[in-house]
Amino acid sequence: MKRYLPFIIVGLVAALAIGSGAFLYQRKRVANTPAKIPKTETESSGKIVHTLGPDEAPVTVEEFGDFQCPPCGKLSEPINQVQKKYNIRVIYRNFPLPNHRWAKDAACAAEAAGRQGKFWEMHDVLYREQAVWSQSTDAPTLFKAYAGMIQLDLNKFKEDLDNPEVQRQVETDHERGVAIGVKTTPTIFLNNQAVPPPQLMPEEFAKAVEAAVNQAKPPS
């Protein structure tokens, strides 16, 4: 028996390491990859727009967000949850506020990630790590690190960050917001109706979406 004991110990540890790694990976995948239908499509104006969920969804949530805005960060996960739960359509538009030092850089980072089809992955990372990079003295370096984490082509990402078209895209989003009266973030439109500020708390927002979904259901 003693002859086989080292083989048994090593085998058990290998199985344990692979098993626990696979289990943890599955859990992280489920947590980090919501059932989204991420898209980066081009509007008739030629502007790129980032959406989640089916185009024909009866409820559309359009958010004007600032990645450095704490309430936007708090609302990010609840929006992901209601998107998954009700399979609604979510549109994200950048609205970086001038008083947030890194907001525009963050928006550009998300747009640059979008050019590699990973806008929503970067969106989620930026909100998840908001407390860290917001206080950093060198947030752009962190954005590059995040790009590495979500496995972007780093050279292309850096090129896109300096691309005037990416910056222009963020500005176009901002101009669109200003044109329809957006002043603060988050500003959210639920089926083209502005959601009043009291309903922007995570629980209230979920209720508002649920009500909109129920309203959109055909009467049985």
Binding site: V13, Y25, R128, A145, G148
Partner: protein, 162 residues
């Protein structure tokens, strides 16, 4: 008789278990335990890498700088994954060496030396190229320094008296 004994000694297969002293068993037990901790840490970091999640460093941005840098992977393979493999090898060799496999002792030593060299390189990268220290990497470096210290201070195998 004496030459017969010598012949028997020279033909002993190094892959077969031999008797180990109590000190050797304790030594390899400690080494296996340290390698197990390193294996758990490296596995966790590999999972984070594969799932695209960022490691948390208690509010410090340094982990992101280090783990998201070009130095954190070799081709498509994360360095943490290679670390997990290396820790598993050290664990396995320590276990086999503890059970008296002579060849496992040699593999154990060489693997720890290779890991030590890699650790020195990664510490250099963090200090002089990235100007950021990842706490997970520092913890792993501490484990490898500990293993290297154990290798240096390893008790001698009991010699056979004729």
């Amino acid at each position: 008789m004496k030459s017969g004994k010598q012949n028997a000694k020279s033909t002993t297969d190094k892959a077969s278990p031999a008797r180990t002293s109590r000190a050797q068993t304790i030594f390899y037990g400690i080494a296996a335990f340290i390698a197990l901790i390193g294996l758990a840490e490296a596995t966790y970091l590999t999972v984070l890498f594969l799932s695209g999640e960022t490691a948390v460093c208690g509010g410090s941005p340094d982990c992101f700088k280090v783990l998201g840098s070009a130095y954190a992977k070799i081709g498509p393979i994360p360095v943490s994954g290679l670390g997990a493999l290396a820790y598993f090898c050290v664990f396995s060799f320590a276990i086999f060496a503890g059970f008296g496999y002579a060849r496992a002792r040699q593999f154990f030593t060489w693997t720890v030396i290779a890991m030590f060299a890699m650790t020195v390189w990664l510490l250099f990268v963090q200090a002089f190229r990235l100007h950021a220290f990842c706490r997970w990497c520092l913890f792993s470096a501490a484990l490898i320094f500990l293993l290297t210290g154990l290798v240096v201070a390893r008790p001698a195998m009991p010699t056979r008296s004729n």
